[in-house]
Subunit: 229 residues, 2 copies
């Protein structure tokens, strides 16, 4: 699966959270990082090129700071121009149908404020309805989003937890079965194993997960046999 | 009451609906028409000037085409910059608190599609939550919006009905009592009466409305007297 990560931020160099997340995926062969302000410094979007890029990816993610409960002006401009008539609507062929769509949002306010009675009044699910409606219009599958609340107040462990959720949103199959998550974890571990080392704790971890999986599959077969006979 | 009408459209000259509504209020002394693309052709917003303008008005309206279930990129840019830290948030003084906020949206799809089971999945109330949350954050009163659905398919009478709703959103007090609506109607009629004509149907209409109002007030006084004695 190829993922197109469309990033927009008015001042990305100054954003510690953006840098933290983006630096962690620079080497990933299945992710195309697509930073709008960097690619189009004059603001003029190459619509045909963007549409081609969308067709070449199975998962599309918008990553942006959640200012005023929405995406950046550049993402809105991208939506209005790239998803224009004949591509985004007003056509029966729906070129993006069946692909997946997700959001990564950096949020300055605490999670507890996003509810009735909280300072921000509405939940993230309520505030992102325009994006859910967009996915619906395009025939895309809307993924569970990743809202990152108050990154700068996080302890290191919490940051790491968010990083793993980030990698999962970008690269893990939507199917949430244990087998899928194990397969994904092994792939991630294999990417960071040092091939020069004869033995490492990571190799050991991979072997253990695979052994457990084999055992589970074996037990399943026994169970199936019992019921089929 | 002074109203600031913040208009944004990527191609306003070509938009028949925008022209229809804007032309009808050109002479209105209580409305400041503020067309962002016209005022800032290079996209650079004079933040201090915009903030001053907001302070001078009691009602703020955004008018835009409802592309991808949201406002234009320029309105988002305006929000992010003008309603920045120290003015829009991160300050206790809330310079816009108590003022009113409303939306005028030109919408290409039929109203019936904006619901569960409809093509657009969500209602306008659901899709405009980011603006409701903004009004909440600023301490502003969120007004009943004016979504104009499929202007070009409208009969002349329907267009006129929408025009009246438009004028009401821009100039009528929020209080929806009959007395308020009568007062507003008389003001509107007086504006279009030709002073050179000794008698016109409009003058007659104004007199009738006022006479009815006097009668109602009289009856109210009688009723109050009955209960007080």
């Amino acid at each position: 699966m190829q993922t197109l990560l469309i990033v927009s931020h008015p001042d990305i160099i100054e954003s510690g959270s953006q840098q933290y997340f983006l630096n962690s995926i620079k080497q990933h062969s299945n992710i195309t990082i697509h930073h709008l302000e960097h690619l189009y410094p004059d603001g003029k979007i190459d619509v045909a090129k963007e549409q081609d890029l969308l067709k070449q990816h199975e998962r599309i993610i918008f990553q942006f700071p959640f200012y005023w409960y929405s995406a950046t002006p550049f993402i809105k401009k991208w939506q209005d121009e790239v998803l224009g008539e004949g591509f985004g609507y007003g056509t029966k062929r729906q070129p993006l149908a069946g692909k997946e769509f997700g959001l990564v949002m950096m949020i300055g306010v605490a999670e507890r404020e996003y509810q009735a009675g909280g300072e921000e009044l509405f939940s993230i699910s309520e505030l992102t309805k325009p994006f859910q409606a967009m996915a619906n219009k395009l025939g895309m599958v809307y993924l569970r989003p990743l809202p990152v609340f108050q990154f700068f107040y996080m302890e290191e462990e919490e940051k790491m937890n968010n990083l793993i959720k980030y990698w999962q949103l970008l690269t893990m199959d939507k199917d949430i079965s244990l087998a899928t998550r194990e397969k994904w974890l092994i792939e991630q571990l294999e990417q960071i194993v040092n091939p020069d080392e004869a033995f490492s704790p990571l190799t050991f971890a991979i072997e253990r997960i695979q052994a457990n999986r084999d055992k589970i599959d074996e037990l399943k077969m026994v169970l199936d046999d019992m019921f089929l006979k």
